[in-house]
C-alpha cells in the first residue's frame, strides 16, 4: 500500500452573478406546453348520511348562484374567475377577473 498524503479539500465558494430577482419568462420556449385547467362550479356541505343517500337522480344544490362567477383553477389554485356560458356545444367561461 502506497503512502498518500491526505489534505483538506479546498472548494471554491460559488457566487451567483447579478441575476435578476424575478426571472424573465421566455414564453416562446414553453408556449406549446399544455396544462390542465379546472373549472370549479361550486361546493356544498352535506351530511355523511345525505352523501350515502344519493342515488341516480338525486339533486345536489351547490353554493354558487347562477349569476356568480365560477373559479378557474390551475394546479389547485384559483387563477381566474368568470361566468359560465355556452360556446357552441361546449361549456365556456367568460373571464371576469384575472391578474394580468
Amino acid at each position: 500500500m502506497n503512502d498518500v498524503v491526505v489534505t483538506d479539500l479546498m472548494i471554491d465558494e460559488l457566487k451567483p452573478l447579478n441575476e435578476p430577482k424575478s426571472p424573465v419568462w421566455k414564453t416562446d420556449v414553453i408556449k406549446d406546453v399544455e396544462v390542465d385547467i379546472d373549472i370549479r362550479l361550486g361546493g356544498a356541505s352535506v351530511t355523511i348520511n345525505e352523501l350515502f343517500s344519493w342515488k341516480k337522480g338525486s339533486v345536489v344544490t351547490l353554493d354558487n348562484q347562477l349569476n356568480q362567477p365560477v373559479d378557474v383553477l390551475l394546479n389547485q389554485k384559483v387563477v381566474g374567475k368568470g361566468m359560465l356560458v355556452a360556446c357552441g356545444d361546449y361549456y365556456g367561461v367568460e373571464i371576469t377577473d384575472v391578474i394580468e
Partner: protein, 242 residues
Amino acid sequence: MKLIRFVSQSELSFLQEICADVYDKWLSRWRSPRNINVPLRPSIIYKEPDGQSWLSCTIGRGNAFVSVSESSLISLAALILGVDEVIAERELQKDILHSLIIDACKELLNDLSNALLENTFKVFSRKEEPLFKIGTINCGGYQFKNNIIDVLLDSNVVSRKFEQKHDLVARNQSLKNELIDIEAFLPPSKISLHELLGIKKGNMLVTDTKIDSDVDIFVNGKKNRVGNLGKTDGFLALKVSK
C-alpha cells in the same frame, strides 16, 4: 343529581325575592282576569318534588332542572284560563292550549333565567341543597322524561342535561350528521401555456366539456360521483347520474 346550591338563608331569600318578582310579572301577563285567587306562589322546598320533570335552564351559577308535571300543567292551564282544574285538564288535550301552556312555561323560565344570571352568588356550598319552587314549577335536578323537552329545547333558555351514562351507539350513527364538503368541477380541460398566459378580462375560455356531458363531484379531493349540471332556486345544481 345536580342542584342549585345556596350558602345561607339570606341567599335563598334573595333568590326567592327574585323569583317572586319574576313570577308576579309573569302572572300579570298570563293569569286570566277571571282567576282572582292565585294559587301559585314562590316558595323554597327542601326535598324532591313529586312529578315528572321535563326541562332545564341555565340559572345563576349553573344548570337548574325544572320540573313541570302533568298536574303542574293543569294548574297552569287553570290559572291561565280562569277555569277549574277539571275543565283545564280536558282543555289541555287540545294542542293549541298545550302549546300555550308550554309558551307560558318558556316565558317564565326565560324571565327567571335573565333575572338570575344578572346576579352572581360568590360562595358555593355543598352542605345544603335546597330546591326552590315557584308555584308548581319546581327547580331541582331531574331527568327528562317527556318529549315536550324537544319543544322546549328550541328556546334559548333550556338545555339538555347530559347523563353520565351513555348507551353505546354504532359509529356510523354517531357520524351520520357530520358535515363534509363536496365540490363540483367540469372535467379538466387542456390549454396551452401560450393561451393561458394570454388570457385577459373579457376573453372567452372554451372548455373541452360538451354541454350535457357529466361533471365531476369530488368528496375530500377525490372524484366520487358524476352528475348533470342544472339549476335549482337560482343556484347551480347537479343531478347525480352515476
